[in-house]
Symmetry: C2
Subunit: 223 residues, 2 copies
Amino acid sequence: MVQKTVSSDRGLAKRPVEDAHAVPKRRGRPRAYEPDVALGKALDLFRKDGFAATSLDDLSAATGMNRPSLYGAFGDKRELFIKSYQRYRADARAKMQDVFKVELPIRKRLERIYAVALDIYLSGEEGPRGCFTVMTAGSEAVADPEICAMVLDGLTELDKAFAMCFRAAQESGELPASADPKALAQLASATIHTIAIRARARVPRKELESIVKSAVDLMCGPR
Amino acid sequence: MVQKTVSSDRGLAKRPVEDAHAVPKRRGRPRAYEPDVALGKALDLFRKDGFAATSLDDLSAATGMNRPSLYGAFGDKRELFIKSYQRYRADARAKMQDVFKVELPIRKRLERIYAVALDIYLSGEEGPRGCFTVMTAGSEAVADPEICAMVLDGLTELDKAFAMCFRAAQESGELPASADPKALAQLASATIHTIAIRARARVPRKELESIVKSAVDLMCGPR
DNA sequence: TGATTTTTGTACCATCTCGTAGGAAAATGT
DNA sequence: ACATTTTCCTACGAGATGGTACAAAAATCA
């Protein structure tokens, strides 16, 4: 008996809220992996090859977890995919939210947003990974209603975020009252989509940046 | 002996150019399928599920050809995929070229182009099939250089076609001399890409048409 | 110490996957 | 009629795939 014997309040059925960081002190054999980093590795694989072309063996090798552990932790392949996608969305949101929050002139704001997006889409050791939402729309979305709904949600979340930016710019007088924030937002999203796709086709960053520049000019006026 | 006995010039090694329609009069057992329709069926499948999720059994069932025949006619799965993609491009070009050719006011022209595109993307009995170029960019493109090159070619072909339209409109005075045809073309392509993706996520046609309308307004002036 | 709980890891299963071998079938040529 | 050519089609094989059973391992609890 090495560690403390404190009886503790380990209710198991109703922990306060999820003890946050305070080491949970689980009962059985400790996990040999960190679920978060494992999920990250799985996400990397799915982004690189897509759902169908990624095998459980690949996932097992990448995460360092053997098949049954993978199963126990995340459920079957489809569930793991869904969790990976949710993780992707959470990550992207985290990287974007300060940019969307900070008050900046609309032009600067868009430029920063696209810069972050390009970082996300061009990352990847074995080729640019693109936008997971766009990729998933292309493959699993039509056949799987649940995944389809998630993808749709991802698309509209982006639309709304952009619309907010343009509305703010309009209210502050940066954009004319005649501007249509929703239409501009859809165009801003379209620009996101086109650079995501082109990134996968290995169009160099310079060119993508030039596309972004033209688009921003058209949306905010050529200034 | 029913048909003609004409010795003929069936050189086999150097037929004039490919006798065109004149029944070739092959030597062995006749084919039980028409390569063109079989390729069309294969394309349908690939568009629906993507390369990795489409098995040779699926392809065999859809085309009515058994595996070895499929092989003999089109090569292995990857070659069949590539031929399917080329066929897709040829089909799309055929549907588009009259629209791109006919002289029309830029606005009408764009509207027609997008209408055709929507027809292509929304077709499919088991869900909208989207744009094959976009889907392939998302999945196979990064890993396979040859496929990547084809996809890139598909993207730039569209860019160029749009650029031609805008240049023509500029020369005819429909667009101001200050307009940037290349930038507008990239935006027009972006709009194609965004509706292709959204179509896969089952966004209804009405909504896609509204996106197109806003985009056209922004490109040609709100008129 | 021994019971309990949880995770690990090997080994396995049934199925599917791509691809091919090899003979039967159906046409033409002589 | 018989050889030749081309295609069809059954059957198979080697390997991959998703998923699971089960015993050993490693922790806590009493």
